[in-house]
Symmetry: C2
Subunit: 462 residues, 2 copies
């Protein structure tokens, strides 16, 4: 099983057929959020199970309360080889507004953009049909050359990722023994740019809180009461304004417990990526880094915790003016977590802070909106190092270790429910227009994605 170059050649030879398979898969309208496409979702699941069986997997479609799960097992060539769980999703986003698509979202093709760039069109071409098939096609190339795989593989494909994954946790719980592996491989992320592969090693966690401050028991006329009665918007503003200090740090007691500094070499690599420019902000009309002072752009969004106000409301917000002192004002606040920050401790600290800032005759109601810890793959873990080397060899450029500012729930679930770390490798590009009209996947992403997984499997087995 050490003849990797034959496998890579085979992947190259397979490419036209691999593309035909992807086209067939994209043609299935597996829009999970719309009940009208329920049968299509099942069809996509069955398509996958059949495809897996073709390459030696024992694969089955499992019913859930929603769309079915596909589970497949391959014993690999060596009994004590590492065991990986590969995750992807076969469902896609709706295509509305369909009139904005230049090509039929469900009739994929390869388009030549000139300059050597070719793309695969269609809904799901990138997210996540194209991405997940890179792994399946890598397995196929291995199978074609060696008759087996260099690692033991379990696959899990779900059909509700684009609609909140309601069946996922129950399914993981019920099938924990069957699904547990040494670690998970997830292909639903992107490259740094079209030439630079990336491994996502950290995902920020999240704590969501809503607070509703009540002052008087009804709305008051600001002429009659103004200056004497508590104004809940004013109280709320003071509470929110006090969440950050002058340096942009979050003021909550214990907030930075469990936050570790990013290793210097990683920080240096990130700073090199942006060259100190904030192009990422320029694109949205901003030019100055907000948040903690003295940190670089990528560090702020990948490796630092935040407190953001996501919504606020109170009093009269319509056209014109109303001289009212509202009875209530509310805000939604979220915290992005990193390292080992404890979501529930932060929630408690936040609530205590709010209570401490409240006048004695006012009250506050708290609504909990989720909490999940951050995910952090150790920067020196062997899995990460092996994957990094494999990707760097394929792309002839050092693979980056990056973070994701947001959460990917499945990774938390694998961590919490199956005790597994996840290696996130994907080949999406920032212009893939996932969730939007004219979604595409670069042909190069697909082709070199397949080759990348072949290399990663070989590396993991070694």
């Amino acid at each position: 099983m050490t003849d990797l170059s034959s496998v890579l050649s085979r992947a190259d030879q397979n490419l036209p057929a691999s593309l035909e398979r992807l086209f067939g898969f994209v043609r299935i309208r597996s829009i999970s959020t719309d009940p009208a496409f329920k049968d299509d979702c099942r069809k996509a699941a069955e398509w996958l199970a059949a495809d897996l069986r073709e390459i030696g997997f024992e694969a089955s479609v499992h019913d859930t309360a929603g769309h079915p799960m596909v589970v497949g097992h391959h014993p690999g060539a060596v009994a004590d080889a590492p065991h990986v769980l590969f995750y992807g999703h076969y469902d896609v986003q709706p295509v509305d507004p369909v009139e904005l698509w230049e090509d039929d979202p469900f009739d994929p093709k390869v388009k030549d953009l000139g300059g050597g760039r070719k793309i695969i069109t269609g809904r799901g071409s990138s997210d996540d049909k194209g991405q997940l098939l890179t792994f399946v096609e890598a397995c196929r190339a291995y199978k074609d050359v060696h008759g087996s795989l260099p690692v033991r593989v379990t696959v899990l494909f779900e059909g509700e990722e684009e609609s909140g994954s309601p069946s996922l946790q129950p399914f993981l719980e019920a099938n924990a023994t069957e699904l547990k592996a040494d670690y998970a491989l997830v292909c639903d992320t992107g490259m740094w740019d079209a030439d630079t592969p990336a491994i996502t090693a950290s995902l920020r966690g999240l704590v969501g809180e809503e607070i509703i401050v009540t002052a008087a028991n009804r709305d008051l006329h600001s002429g009659m009461y103004g200056g004497a009665a508590a104004n809940p918007i004013q109280i709320l503003s003071k509470i929110l304004a006090g969440l950050h200090d002058e340096t942009g740090r979050v003021t909550l007691e214990g907030f930075y417990d469990g936050v570790e500094e990013t290793p210097a070499n990683i920080k240096a690599a990130w700073e090199k990526l942006t060259g100190g420019r904030n192009d990422f902000l320029d694109e949205v009309g901003l030019s100055e880094l907000a948040g903690e002072k003295g940190r670089s752009l990528l560090e702020l969004i990948w490796a630092r915790p935040t407190c953001e106000i996501n919504g606020i409301s109170g009093g009269y917000a319509g056209q014109g003016f109303k001289t009212v002192i509202a009875s209530k004002a509310s805000a939604k606040i979220s915290f992005r977590l990193v390292g080992h920050q404890d979501p529930e401790k932060i929630r408690d600290s936040f609530r205590a802070y709010v209570q401490s800032r409240l006048p004695a005759d006012c009250s506050v109601e708290f609504l909990k909106h989720g909490g999940s810890p951050a995910i952090q793959l150790a920067y020196d873990s062997p899995v990460l190092t092996k994957a990094k080397t494999a990707l760097s060899e394929e792309w002839q450029k050092p693979a980056l270790v990056v973070g994701v500012g947001g959460s990917i729930p499945i990774v938390g679930d694998f961590q919490n429910m199956l005790g597994m770390e996840s290696l996130l490798v994907g080949f999406g590009l920032s212009d893939d227009r996932v969730h939007s009209p004219n979604e595409k996947y670069d042909l190069k992403s697909f082709h070199k994605g397949i080759r990348s997984w072949a290399r990663i499997m070989a590396a993991l087995a070694g």
Copy 2:
């Protein structure tokens, strides 16, 4: 014209007929805001003009772009007697929800509540038909006894007070010479309580501002951008939170320019009224004085300037949670002014303050929502002193000099457009339910209101 006691007796004798006239007036459905009642509004105006003519006024109904104005003139008995302009409004609020009325809103009657308390029911019984007729009926009693009035009187009754008075300023401007008098008498305010008459000597002014803070040029995902991109709700919160210092004082530069301390004797009288209790707040579920520390309840709402946030909005405020960083956030802010505070200077100071707190890559839009200075009748003016004595004699209890926390636009218009101060005397009670179902006017308010105006006219003539 010095025989006041005969006039008062006559007012007593007239009361049953006065009530019948009020009932006739209330029966006219002069709801100004609803075009369906346009003819009723004209009917009310004509009813008033006819009533005025009966008692010796030269009275006419003037068309406007909206509902008509009624203007009447009475030369009085003495050519160089003081000349007053009496203002009231004949339009009323809608009656919805009509099913909450215990009695037909347009079929008034006297109801005996027991314990010697009788009320007049119906929409407008207090606001402002009952109130304005107290003055007209006082004139009638004078006319009945003396054939004339002790002062020169112009009356102005409008029909759009409950719908924003759009025609008032143009009318005052076009008829300034005809309407100008030595001072105005306005009967649209209340007593302190059922036994204690009150003169309103101060009205707070108002500056309304709306600010819209824009950060990024579109809403951002808080996972992708959180910690690096400016959050307009956070910026807005800091701006709003900085408007007051720890002692509740407004921090804007120059804000307290033109604010004078209330005379000690007036402050002492106010503190005596509440006995240091905050019942006014208790009724709305609050117990602590907000706003400037070290000031009493009545001082805060009658004689101190304020800054209130009347509305705020930004980001996602619906059910559930959305991890968004909004592009925009907005707030409506109003300042109540006292003394000689200059509305436009305060607006400028506010705008400069907001600009100074804005990150360089964010912008703010300001919307102006009106500005009017405070009204303050000199506490030692002869008119105020005479009216106070007259009221104290009628009610056998010292009349209070009070403030109103809100604005009464007509008073500002008289000040600014006609150069006239206004004396505000009214007999409404806090339980009159003006603008609500089951509006009423105490029979005692009506009866002693008539007698009060007779006394005030006599005092002003003296």
